[in-house]
Amino acid sequence: MKFRDMLRMSLSSLWKRKVRTFLTVLGVVIGTASIVVMISLGLGLSRASMAEIEKYGGITTVTVTEQDSYTVDSSITGAASQSQTVEHLDDDLVDNILQLDHVKDAYPVLDTDALAISGGFQANIQIRGVAADKMQNLQLNLGRGSLPQPGEGQLSVVYGNMVLGDFYNDKTGEGYWYNGTLPDIDLMTDTILYVFDVDRYYNAIWGGTDDKGQAVTMPKKYVVDTAGVVAGGMEDYNSNSSYVFCDLEQLKTLLRKEFRGSVIPGQPTTANGKAYKDIYYTSIIVNVDNMDYVQQVQNEINDMGYQATSNAEWVASMQGQYKYIQLALGGIGAVSLFVAAIGIANTMMMSIYERTKEIGIMKVLGCDMRNIQSMFLMEAGYIGLIGGAIGLELSYGLSAVINSVVKTVDLGVDEAVSASVGLSYIPLWLAALSIVFAVLVGMVAGFFPSLRAMKLSPLAAIRTE
């Protein structure tokens, strides 16, 4: 018997019993929709949490810093006091890290503190030097201005969206964190002065003296141009929001000039407290090509004698958690699909009792037993297919409804995140899988009835009632 003829015959026998077919299909529709919607909720939650992790520095980023230094006390060991050799971060290390497998990119970061002064306000800011050509990697979402261009002579900076809140009134000491009002400074247009040698600045103000008893002179104040400001207000936290960004090379040149011969704050010193010739980096940012290899890269760098940190563990525990949630939600949905499967089995059984005669006739006329079984399996599969397809459409509808409701109702999840990506999320694989699964459930439910149909005696057909 031709496959097409079997498909046609099983479809027509379903069509003959429209009402019953409809009711059975309805069960599958509800079952499929409940599974898909439940899993979509789990997926949406985990996607929302991923988006949140992304805000805290990304999921494929490894940050490399120096190992915490410690000294071995000579009075305990009896040996000469010696500092554990701490590996400093330099360009060679950046090159070495770039050689590692799965490392997409690596670039150094140099952090330093400075005092920013504008009008009657001042702020202790953290300056982060990043090579100008790597700055787009930070994914700074600029609200105004642009990123500093490489090779600009003058130091120009980009302000994180929360830096403005660091400015406080230099007379009263009050600022945003004290009274909740942002200072009246336009970071783009107002003149902002930077003092890099903060210690000397305060020493000079309070009339301190240096080693030789001379009065401390006021350090130079640099006028720093603003290239851009990151979009967002004080509420929009992300890992970049409280930094001031500038080009790494410009920052290094400036620091060298400012701290000629003395130790730059934050830089390591030799055993006897002298500055090194080079400026070492505060950290190295490593981008890994795939989330799965983050831990591996992190371990390799740790083995090299550095401290590598990432969100990998956080992500892993987060994912583990959401996997359970997805399983639990999917399980709830599965119950209704299971009920639907029983419905299919029941319908097929009924159908076989009703069609005993028909099956018998087909057998007497020479219909292959396998073909009979196949036709019944196909009927059950059709019920699954139709139910699965309609159920999937229903799920898309429900998913849209859920997402629009979530936009208006506070569910305690990070609203901005859930609103932007949606709480319910049906990826293509879930859609495809749900239909395949529905067909499979139908066929499994129809298997034993089909076996029964196959084994019916052909004698039943010619029995006269």
Partner: protein, 233 residues
């Protein structure tokens, strides 16, 4: 009638176990049927005639004995092989017609060809030809419920003929028809069997209807008691 042998039945027994006692439905049956013959098996209810037909068609297994149809031993075949054998070599006419109600006349006739895996266009063409033969040219697209009993049985006959079988079995083919229609149908069967040089074995309890056949096997208590020539030769 110097045809070749289509059916050879040898020493056939069928014993049913009813509780502790044994009932011999068939008690040693021997006969042969030649190609082109129209035979009827006649007997009262419980004489074993239906059992005989069921075993000839491979729907029941004999307890003992041989059935050879077209050179093949039916009693040795598995159920799957029997289905295949029926599909290719046997036509069947039922008392209650047993047409599939969802299919039209021509589709019902084409059903055995569907089981053989024939293309749709080809099998419908062939089915239409056979329907012409039984005089139902105008009813090809009618559903069984739109046809009279006589017409339905003609569809049944066409369905049995369509595979061009070695042999056709008919179980009380006019049992559900009035006497006038019965006679018509029997005439049709006889005419077609002879025209097409087909072989047909009919089971009936009606002496008059059995008389349409070339040969009449009279069966009683599981044994063939006499073989007569038909009246209207």
């Amino acid at each position: 009638m110097a045809g070749k042998t289509v059916i050879r039945v040898k020493d056939l027994y069928k014993v049913y176990r009813v509780g502790d006692s044994k009932v011999k439905a068939l008690n040693g049956v021997d006969f042969t049927i030649q190609k082109g013959e129209f035979c009827s098996i006649v007997g009262t209810s419980g004489s074993g005639k239906s059992t005989l037909l069921n075993m000839l068609a491979g729907l029941e297994k004999p307890t003992k004995g041989q059935i050879v149809i077209a050179g093949e031993h039916i009693e040795k075949k598995s159920e799957n092989q029997l289905v295949k054998f029926r599909r290719e070599h046997i036509g069947f006419i039922f008392q209650s017609f047993n047409l599939l109600p969802a299919l039209s006349a021509v589709e019902n006739v084409a059903l055995p060809l569907t089981f053989q895996g024939m293309d749709k266009a080809k099998r419908l063409e062939k089915a239409a030809q056979v329907l012409d033969l039984v005089g139902l040219s105008k009813h090809k697209d009618h559903k069984p419920t739109q046809m009279s009993g006589g017409q339905q049985q003609r569809v049944g006959i066409a369905r049995a003929l369509v595979v061009n079988p070695q042999i056709i079995f008919a179980d009380e083919p006019t049992g559900n028809l009035d006497s006038h229609t019965s006679a018509e149908v029997m005439e049709l069967i006889r005419r077609i069997i002879h025209e097409q040089n087909q072989t047909l074995v009919m089971v009936t309890h009606d002496d008059h209807l059995a008389g349409f056949a070339d040969r009449i096997f009279r069966i009683s208590d599981g044994k063939i008691v006499s073989i007569e020539a038909g009246r209207e030769q």
